[in-house]
């Protein structure tokens, strides 16, 4: 299958004392695990999967790095698949901020975000999803975001650079999942793994369990419907076990006829 992916995990941020955000622990391990799933069971060729994880010095990624990876994907699809590839995955783990009066939008904060730069260093989830859909290069779009959605300040994250209809897919199938509901927080927690303790995002932990088989339906298939149901059931349970309250927000345009498979 002609699948592509951009996977982003950001642990490092400008610190709160400089009007930034506190550092995270789980975003990078989660991004790596998601990448691992994508290039094995997920059907994404290794060369088509762009993993971007943060570094402290230099402090990365900024917006350009992520935009460049997305543009590389789009360019490869145009050059190699006649603008008609199969599936595009976009995964983001890091800090997120809710947008006033816009429950469909969320700001995905890059590493060098702080409240001075505000809008300019956060991706608008709504606008990027619109870009992935409307550019028509893929038959299927999957967007997964493990980040908070609570509003903390006046905020209008920046739109995606250019949205131009390029490919033939006018109404691609899509699956979009936020880790939490609008105006709520997403959490990371410690999990024992072998002999060590690893911090993971609650949502991504359940997501990968689901994709590795837990979300299989009675026909032993993982579909968008079964994945959505599993996340709705299990994310709150998992969060509760860790003394948090978290409910995911999923949406898709598939049904019994227009099926989207994950296995």
């Amino acid at each position: 299958m002609n699948n592509y992916a951009v996977v982003v995990g950001i642990n490092h941020y400008i610190p709160p004392i400089e009007k930034g955000l506190k550092s995270l622990k789980g975003a990078i391990p989660d991004a790596i695990k998601v990448r691992d799933w994508l290039v094995t069971k997920g059907g994404v060729p290794d060369s088509n999967c762009h993993l971007i994880t943060s570094t402290l010095d230099p402090l990365n990624p900024d917006r350009d790095l992520i935009d460049d990876a997305i543009e590389k994907v789009m360019s490869d699809v145009k050059d190699n698949h006649d603008k008609d590839a199969d599936r595009f995955y976009f995964y983001f783990a890091g800090h997120g901020l809710g947008v006033e009066l816009d429950s469909e939008n969320n700001g995905l904060c890059v590493a060098n975000w702080n409240s001075n730069t505000r809008d300019a260093r956060a991706l608008s989830s709504k606008d990027y999803i619109k870009k992935f859909k409307n550019e028509g290069l893929f038959k299927e779009i999957v967007v997964l975001m493990d980040c908070c959605r609570n509003q903390k300040l006046y905020f209008n994250p920046v739109a995606a650079p250019s949205i131009t209809p390029l490919g033939p897919n006018r109404n691609p199938k899509y699956f979009v999942a936020y880790a939490t509901l609008y105006q709520n927080e997403a959490f990371e927690a410690d999990y024992a793994s072998d002999d060590e303790v690893e911090t993971r995002g609650v949502f991504t932990k359940v997501l990968l369990d689901a994709l590795n088989g837990a979300a299989a339906n009675g026909s032993a298939q993982i579909t968008a419907v079964s994945l959505s149901n599993y996340l709705q059931l299990q994310v709150p349970i998992e969060a509760k076990l860790k003394n948090f309250s978290q409910e995911p927000d999923t949406s898709h345009n598939t049904n019994d006829v227009k099926i989207m498979y994950f296995s």
């Binding site: 009007k19 006033e100 009066l101 429950s103 409240s115 001075n116 730069t117 505000r118 809008d119 300019a120 609570n150 509003q151 903390k152 300040l153 006046y154 209008n156 509901l181 609008y182 105006q183 709520n184 979300a215 339906n217 009675g218 026909s219 419907v225 079964s226 149901n229 599993y230 709705q232 059931l233 299990q234 709150p236 349970i237 509760k240 309250s245 409910e247």
Partner: protein, 576 residues
Amino acid sequence: MEKSAPSPKRNKKQSGTVSKVKTGSNTIHKLTILIRETYALITKVKIFDHQFALVNDDEPISFSEEYRVYSLTSGKYVIRVIINGLFEDNEIELIKDKTCGIAYQHQQQDTEALSLPKLYSSAPLKGDLEYSTTHDYYLKPAVAISSMPENPFLKDKELKSGLFIFIHYPSKDLYQERYRSHSYWEKFSLLGSNGELIKQFPEGCIQDRDNHQWNIVKHAGYIGFRLSTKPGLYYLQYNDDQNGRIIPLYVYESWYTQFFMTVIHTPLFETIRIFLSHKLAFDPYDKYHGYIDICLNKLQNNDYSVAESLVRNIAYGKFQSPMLGLLGAYLYLSSKEVKENELFKMIVYNIQEKILKNSAESPDLWALNMLSYKHFGTTISGDESKTISGAPMLRIAFDVIRNAAVAYPWLVPEGSINDYIAENQTFDSPYNTFLPSALNAYRKATSNAIRIHDLEIFDAYNSSEDNVLMDYQEHSPFPWEKIKVNRDENQNKNLQDSLDSEKPPKKVLGLIDRKILAQRSAKLQDILKNPNELTDLSYTLLNHLTAKPNMSNAEVAKQLNMPINTISRLMKDMGL
């Protein structure tokens, strides 16, 4: 995956309309869930089958039934009961028709009671809804302190309005586990409408270590403060370098404003609850307190739908609980609903003119008029004042003012408290809270300015009290001639007339003159080379202007959803 039969169409008081149907080997059974009325509005139910498929997606907000009926095939299910974002899962096996109850008080012997999530509130509530945070060692002091005469030797019968503030830890166990010095309470103080200090806590407060017979447990971690005071605006201040905050509190004539908040060394502003009570004493059994939570959750999530039973409770409850009335009115008027227009016209009129009468200066009531104008085309009584001074208690009220001031600049005059709040607003509570720098800036600005509407002596000049004026003129340094000349000619216009006559242009003028543009571009470069300590909003302004330097103040205000005068002030401060 086995498919369940679709649920029957839900009708109110539906009874036994689903019969058993055999479909191959999949027998269909009826699952009935009975819900106590007070829980119906706050409870969501999700049912997952053994394949974790969601077999329903129950949104109780859209209907107000006290029982729900589902038709499901035989098998195991998980019934998830969700209240205020918390949930409990209940596993059942359906082999015949089954009835379950959610806090249902009339259930039969064979009705299975479902486990419910615990409810939390900073106010120690009792009654139909069971709150796990309601401890006697908070409830008793809260009731007792709220009803204490301020001076035990005097009965303050004359003033039938006042403030009650109760701040506490989630539990005594948590307090004792994390005990720090009682000096923590010194971070709180009560201020007047101009930011002047009225009381530095814990002075004047009852604390958990005081020796009162109703203080069951010492070191439970609370302070309670009660003050009989005249109607008007007050502020509760939390003084802290990292997390300082100002919280407006409005006292209405003949009502007591009761404030609750939970702290764990640092205040949890999202737990703020404010009630308006006719009675001095806090009533933990007031059934309308639970509905206030429903309204607050909906506002926090931008969910403006109002179910029929919630409308009913707002309509009846507003007389006993004006805060419920206010919140309900804000909810409805923020929506695009029209079917209850006549009812809500009556509701908002009664709130302003009868229930909270003589409170035209209340910012929350005044802001409601903006929504009334937007929804109905008229303000509530048609005679409200054009502008208001003072900050509202409700965050939605402030947001209404802020958003309206994008199009009607005079709603938030430059240098007013709301101008500074717009720059320093915080978002972690459904009530309006802001950074202390807003009040500090306002106090500094007002102490340096001559403001006609703040000068009591100017009012005296227009009154018959000439002697007062004569005495003042002898001693006052104010330039009286300038005051008379600067009088706003439109001062007498009311809000309705002003909104009617000063309609904003359909298109915001987006660009500025070339000369100003050149000056601005040069200044932007200077600022960017040597940035001084600017506020967050100033930096946001810089970001927008850097991207598009020729934007007018009006265009920037529209993009940021900020009052034009706030943008203008910040631009001036930066020399732009």
